[in-house]
């Protein structure tokens, strides 16, 4: 991005949504599965636990789903997909002049406060994604478009939880 140039505007949301839907559809057709994100974190966490103690990882009812003898985290489908997504996100932002070091936050919020809420909120999403077996990508989008009841339950309760708390965070984003 050259100094002083304005970043490009975001795409029309409906057009971007149709594009995202076509990516999801292509994934169903080519890979027989949809998109995901939290599963990549689960594999990475499993990989860390496995590196520290293979015996514990094998005995743990959660991590043993993701790691095991002869299974490399770097061969996991969702880990590779998320690596691709990071590169795609960077490339798209770079081409639009939107790559910028910043902590996005409300005007009255300090950077440490913003980062603390980011970590806490992220940790809550991690807990929720374990219980729900996926996140906005793996449940709401992927399972939602395939009409899975559990995915729609997740979508409805996630929005309900977010809206229930939203009055408390409204002021922080002014």
């Amino acid at each position: 991005m050259t100094a002083g140039s304005e970043p490009a505007r975001y795409a029309d949301p409906y057009l971007a949504g149709v594009g995202l839907g076509l990516v999801l559809l292509a994934s169903y057709v080519v890979a027989g599965r949809g998109l995901g994100a939290s599963g990549a974190f689960a594999s990475a966490a499993g990989g860390l636990v496995q590196a520290v103690s293979p015996a514990y990882a094998a005995a743990n009812g959660y991590f043993s789903r993701y790691v095991g003898p002869g299974v490399s985290v770097w061969q996991d489908w969702l880990v590779l997909e998320i690596i691709g997504a990071c590169f795609g996100g960077w490339l798209s932002a770079r081409l639009a002049g939107r790559v910028r070091w910043e902590a996005e936050r409300g005007a009255d919020v300090t950077i440490p406060a913003r980062l603390m809420f980011a970590v806490l909120g992220g940790a809550a999403m991690g807990i929720g994604a374990v219980l729900a077996r996926g996140c906005t990508s793996g449940q709401a989008l992927t399972g939602g478009a395939l009409l899975s009841v559990g995915s729609w339950i997740f979508m409805l309760t996630a929005f309900a939880g977010a809206y229930a708390l939203s009055p408390l965070i409204r002021g922080a984003w002014r």
């Binding site: 691709g84 997504a85 374990v130 729900a132 990508s137 899975s148 977010a162």
Partner: protein
């Protein structure tokens, strides 16, 4: 690992990241607009994507071009997914990002995105370490592969149509809410 088994997830992921970034979903401020009722990009993108993939998979299956039964459908666990969704939604609004969008935010230089990535990792690691004590809840209310048409006693095609109509109604509603003075 063969080249093609690397190529497919990396390429799908690349396109996923591009779509999220183009939509503006790498920005926490934009996502928060959904919950402060000022910017409904999240709803518009999500439901256009769901409708597109739903119609695409339905018609490709109907025309015999793909075998829909070969696509993995997430299984339903009613209570863990309801409670998990609630906790997830609270985390979503506190952090301003979700797992996929936090990766895109981090990749475009936003350190709040990176902090969300770290938080998700810690949350999943901690829940995994505590798994023995929550496993009975995790495995409860299992309904296997359970689809909306089964619940509402509709054909698959009718359920698709209902969701399309709900999405179109939703788009009209959020356009109206955005145009309010």
């Amino acid at each position: 690992m063969t080249g093609s088994s690397l190529f497919v997830p990396l390429t799908v992921g690349l396109a996923f990241g591009v779509a999220l970034e183009r939509a503006g979903l790498g920005s926490a401020r934009k996502l928060i607009g959904q919950f402060t009722l000022t910017d409904f990009t999240v709803f518009k993108v999500m439901f256009s994507a769901i409708v597109t993939a739903m119609l695409g998979s339905f018609w490709l299956g109907r025309l015999g071009l793909i075998d829909l039964s070969a696509v993995y459908v997430p299984e339903t666990y009613v209570l863990p997914q309801a409670i998990g969704g609630l906790v997830f939604g609270i985390g979503f609004v506190v952090s301003g990002l979700c797992p996929g969008t936090s990766c895109v935010a981090a990749a475009s230089g936003r350190i709040d995105g990176l902090a969300v990535v770290g938080g998700i990792f810690v949350g999943i690691l901690g829940t995994g370490l505590a798994f023995p004590s929550i496993q009975s809840f995790y495995d409860s209310t299992s309904r296997g592969t359970w689809l909306l048409p089964d619940v509402f006693h509709l054909s698959y095609g009718a359920a698709v149509l209902v969701i399309v109509l709900i999405a179109l109604g939703g788009f009209r509603l959020v356009e109206y809410l955005e145009c309010r003075p």
